[in-house]
Symmetry: C2
Subunit: 248 residues, 2 copies
DNA sequence: CGGGGGGTTGATCTCCTTCAATCAACGTGG
DNA sequence: CCACGTTGATTGAAGGAGATCAACCCCCCG
C-alpha cells in the first residue's frame, strides 16, 4: 500500500510504448538523448496520489502505462474529474510551479518524468517538443469542450452512454480492433470515479448502467467487463450523431 | 442586419489594442511585418454568426474588440457554450480544416484574421507564435477545466455567482480597477446565453439572479448593469475559496 | 469469521425544468 | 400617435430527473 518504488525502470526510448504519441513524438535521436539526461521513471500503485493540488511540482512527465485521473475538489468535498490520463498523456504545465489539480493513479501507473526546469529550457530550444505539446494541448482542449456538452446538457443515461462510447472507442483504437463487430472492454473506473467524471452520484451511475444493460444496449459480465453489441445504438443513446466519429 | 462589411480597418499593429496579449504578443517587428502580409480585418454585427460548425475554415484569427461565443449544438437543439471569446482570444485551430464549433458575435465584433495556410507555415518557422499559442491554449484548457467543475458540481445559484465573479474579475483587470471597492460592470450576455454557458434554463438564470439581488449579493440597474458591493461575498456564493484568485 | 470496499436497489425528497402567463422596451407601419 | 409584433426578461405552478438516505449484497482478504 505504501511502498512507492522510484526505481529506474530499464527503458530505451526507442522501444518505449509511447515513443510516437507522447511529447517526445517528434524528437530525433539527438533530442531524445538530451531528454534522456533529464528523465527518470516513477511507478505508482493503484489508488496512490501522484500529486496533490497546490503542491510544488518539480517535474512534468508522460503516462507510460496505466491510468490516472485529474480531479478538482471543493472545500465541502464535492469533486469533479477534469481529465482522464491515458498512456502518452502529458502531466503538468510548463511554467507553472504548483499543481492545479489532484493527480491520482487509478491503476498501477508508470510515468516518465522530466525535471521541470531543464525541460522548460528544452522547450524553448527544441521546437519539436513545443510543437507536439501544442498539438496535444489542443486535442485536450477539444476533449474538454466535448465534455462540457456532456456535463451541461446531457441526461444521466446519455452521460453514461457517452462515457462508455469514449472508452470503447479508445480501447478499439488501442487494440486495433475493427469497430464493426461487437466491442469488448473493461471499465478502468469505479462507479464513483465515473460519477465524478460525469457530474452524477454513484447511485445514478449504477442505475443507468443497469438500465442500459436491461435494455440490451450493453452486456455486463461481472461489474467491469462490458460488451457493446451495436456501437451505433450506443452512440444513439449518447445523443451523438450515429454517423460515427471518424474524426478530424 | 445583413450588411457585413469586410472593410480593411486602418490599423497599425503597433497601436493595436491587443498587441501584447494576442498570438502575436511575442513577435518582433520583423515578424509583425510578415504577419501583416497575411492579415485582414473583418467586422461582424451583434448576433451574426462568424462561422458555422462544420464549415470549411480558411482563416484563423484574434478577437480585436467585442465578444463572441463558441457553442456546440445537439441534433435536438440543446446547446452548450464551450468558450467565451474576449479581445485577444484566438479563434480557429491550426491544422484543422473545418470548424468544430459555432462562433457567434454577441456584440459588434472586430477580428484580425490570418489566411490559414500561410499562418500555419509561419507557425512552424516562427517559434514566437507557436510559443504564445501554446501558452494561450494552456490557459484556455485551465479555464475549461474550471468550468467543468461549475457544470458538473455546482448548484444553480453557485453557477450564477461563478459566472458573475468571472465577468467581474475580467472586467476589473481590463479597466485596472482596484478590486477592493465595489465592482461595477455590464453583463455582456443575455439570460439565454448565460443559461447556455451554465447548463441551465434561462428561467433558472433569471430566478437565481433575482435571488442574488434580493439577498443583497448584487445590485441591478436595468437588466444588465451589475454592482457587486462585496466581492468576497460573491466568491463565497460561488463556492470558491474566498482567499481570492491571485493565481498562478 | 469479521470487516471493508465496491456495487445494487429502494423510498423519499428537492432542485431544477417545463409550460405558461405577463411585462417592459423598442421599432415599425398605418 | 397609437396599435401591433418582437425580443428579452420575470414570475408562477406543476412535474420529473436525479440526489439523498438507507438497506443490503457480493467478494476478497486478513
Amino acid at each position: 500500500m505504501f511502498k512507492e518504488r522510484t526505481l529506474t525502470i530499464p527503458h530505451e526510448c526507442e522501444d518505449c510504448p509511447i515513443r510516437h504519441k507522447a511529447v517526445c513524438a517528434r524528437c530525433d535521436s539527438d533530442e531524445l538523448e538530451r531528454l534522456d539526461e533529464i528523465k527518470y521513471y516513477r511507478r505508482f500503485e493503484a489508488g496512490q496520489t501522484v500529486i496533490w493540488s497546490g503542491d510544488r511540482m518539480d517535474f512534468v512527465g508522460s503516462v507510460v502505462s496505466g491510468i490516472a485521473t485529474l480531479t478538482q475538489t471543493m472545500e465541502d468535498g464535492r469533486t469533479q474529474m477534469v481529465g482522464l490520463l491515458l498512456p502518452s498523456d502529458f502531466v503538468g504545465r510548463p511554467g507553472r510551479e504548483s499543481a492545479a489539480y489532484d493527480v491520482v493513479a487509478t491503476t498501477d501507473l508508470v510515468m516518465c518524468c522530466f525535471r521541470k526546469s531543464p525541460f522548460e529550457e528544452m522547450m524553448t530550444s527544441t521546437p519539436h517538443i513545443a510543437q507536439r505539446l501544442l498539438e496535444m494541448t489542443l486535442d485536450e482542449l477539444d476533449a474538454a469542450r466535448e465534455w462540457m456538452l456532456v456535463l451541461g446538457r446531457k441526461t444521466a443515461r446519455e452521460k453514461i452512454a457517452s462515457l462508455l462510447s469514449i472508452i470503447a472507442r479508445r480501447d478499439a483504437s488501442l487494440h486495433m480492433q475493427n469497430a464493426e463487430g461487437s466491442l469488448v472492454f473493461d471499465l478502468p473506473l469505479t462507479r464513483e470515479a465515473m460519477a465524478d467524471y460525469l457530474g452524477l452520484t454513484l447511485e445514478t451511475v449504477s442505475r443507468q448502467i443497469s438500465a442500459l444493460k436491461r435494455d440490451g444496449v450493453i452486456l455486463l459480465e461481472g461489474k467491469r467487463h462490458v460488451t457493446v453489441p451495436d456501437m451505433d445504438r450506443l452512440l444513439e443513446e449518447a445523443g451523438d450523431d450515429a454517423d460515427g466519429g471518424v474524426f478530424a
